[in-house]
Subunit: 344 residues, 2 copies
Amino acid sequence: MDRPRVGLKDVARLAGVSVKTVSNVVNGYVHVTPATRTRVEAAIKELNYRPNLSARNLRQGRTGIIALAVPELDIPYFAELARLVVAAAEERGLTVLIDQTGASREREQLVAEGFRAHLIDGVIFSPLALSSEDLAAIWDASPTSPSPIPTVLLGERVYEGPADHLVVDNVTAAKEATLHLAALGRRRIAAIGAQDDVAAETSRLRLAGYRLALEEAGLPWDDRLVVPVEAYHRADGARAMARLLDSGAAPDAAFCFNDLLALGALRTLLERGRSVPGDVALAGFDDIEDGRYSTPTLTTISPDKQSIARQAVDLLAARMASRASEPREIRVPHRLVVRESTGG
Amino acid sequence: MDRPRVGLKDVARLAGVSVKTVSNVVNGYVHVTPATRTRVEAAIKELNYRPNLSARNLRQGRTGIIALAVPELDIPYFAELARLVVAAAEERGLTVLIDQTGASREREQLVAEGFRAHLIDGVIFSPLALSSEDLAAIWDASPTSPSPIPTVLLGERVYEGPADHLVVDNVTAAKEATLHLAALGRRRIAAIGAQDDVAAETSRLRLAGYRLALEEAGLPWDDRLVVPVEAYHRADGARAMARLLDSGAAPDAAFCFNDLLALGALRTLLERGRSVPGDVALAGFDDIEDGRYSTPTLTTISPDKQSIARQAVDLLAARMASRASEPREIRVPHRLVVRESTGG
DNA sequence: ATGAAAGCGCTAACAG
DNA sequence: CTGTTAGCGCTTTCAT
């Protein structure tokens, strides 16, 4: 019951041609007589031949596999992104291997180092725990070390190195969201999602946008309204809002640094009998599906994920093709989507 | 700026040993003098050597990669499952390649046929569109064809063939959920998630459980309360509930065949000013995170996903090791989790 | 404990 | 248009 190993040679023998011809047929080369082509195809079918990808990869020096490194698959934003990236890659004949880093610095370092070198041709990387310094340390390492694996970085401009960046304008977007809350007449706008970690670039930028918005709206900065979180999950948002309410300095609005935090905060508010947006208006970031079906539906910043996925794959493909191109930075559009949680 | 290709040979030369010795060191074989081992390791580090996995795979005839084939990653149930499977596989030194079938029959057929043969050693497969007949057609095909790729099937017992099954007792679970609703005194319990498709085994089984529960509770069957859906997304649940309400034959409870449908239905109910569970009690299936943070929180059937993931990988590993084992069927435990949507 | 050499299945030169 | 042949980088006998 062992799987019979059938190779090009076997097909060639059966079809009465050479391996080269079979190879040509398999790879869809043009210069093959229809007659031989048919014969070869019949033989392939009869033997149920499958090309051995390992061998092909070995020969060609590439695998056609790219990695998508994300913190966690069950964060809806990354799940949605993953689906889109896989689809975009498929159109280009690339296979995607998804790597979950768990937002761990160690795992992310491995990814950046290209620990699966020779298995993957490139990586689309959404770093969370890694700082700019970490990346620099890895990529600028020793001059004798191989040049880094072709990489496209998602989310922030974290490193001035040989990688393309696909960035969302976090500062502007956060500012827009906060200004929207201010425009509703809210005066005590909380920010949920601050992070102490030096590597938390996203958090820093969104906080900066929040701060700018306060200034522009003429609202005072209040430390008690800025709530740090450990991670960007629903549970963290729920806890953060509970802390705010318990502190006595209750807000009348909150800008949450992602939708999951907002959904957690929403749960806490409703659980405690507050109305949204009546008592507290809520805005998030990411535009995940959940926010379109929660009650109230969630106002959010919507980055163009479709565009992120497509361009990430395009950039990576280009970079894999010609190793030596200049690093490019592409700004991804976003828009504020107003829904019920801010009375839209 | 081309990546210098460094191979075993280069390391061997630098360390002043043979390739075999380097290979031994890399693979952690025992019979190596500490002295040589150190020397080799230094050389590896200096050259930044990475073993070429394609070559290793070619030689060994296996890749250490398994596929997880699921309909869509941004269905939270599958995202959660994917995370767990990836983690479990990693513990066993396996890499997971996630395949999105989009619930398309064609794509699922490819997976079952092992279209990435020689790249993946086995597959954990959650078929949705494929019928038992489809699988039989593929696997029993011709006697000359190679034996199918080691496969573990998730979800239903779809095929009496050389694959292991990891099944949730859908009938019993659906019955439990429906009986729970009946026990609340609800008389007009809707079923959301019926599917016409012959291949929709899940739907059929959950519907069967619903029917059994009605009988046991002495409730009449009412066709108008059984709502078909196209897919198992929030939007379908929302539409289904809208249809129910518009039909005039409004239910006082609904068993939704998954949590996403329930969340969609919930949205419609709240949007139209109905109270949950006051006017309509709601139960789902899957126990995804969302249901723990919705308002009201969602009563649901919780299959042990951790156990599914772990056992799927274990079964697959065993099957890959010895091709000829008897197909096994393992029942995964589930429990009813009562939350606010049924007044828990 | 280490070395030499064969060959996994494929593609890319190069012939014919 | 098709055939022959040489490796891709690694593991694995078989020697030593």
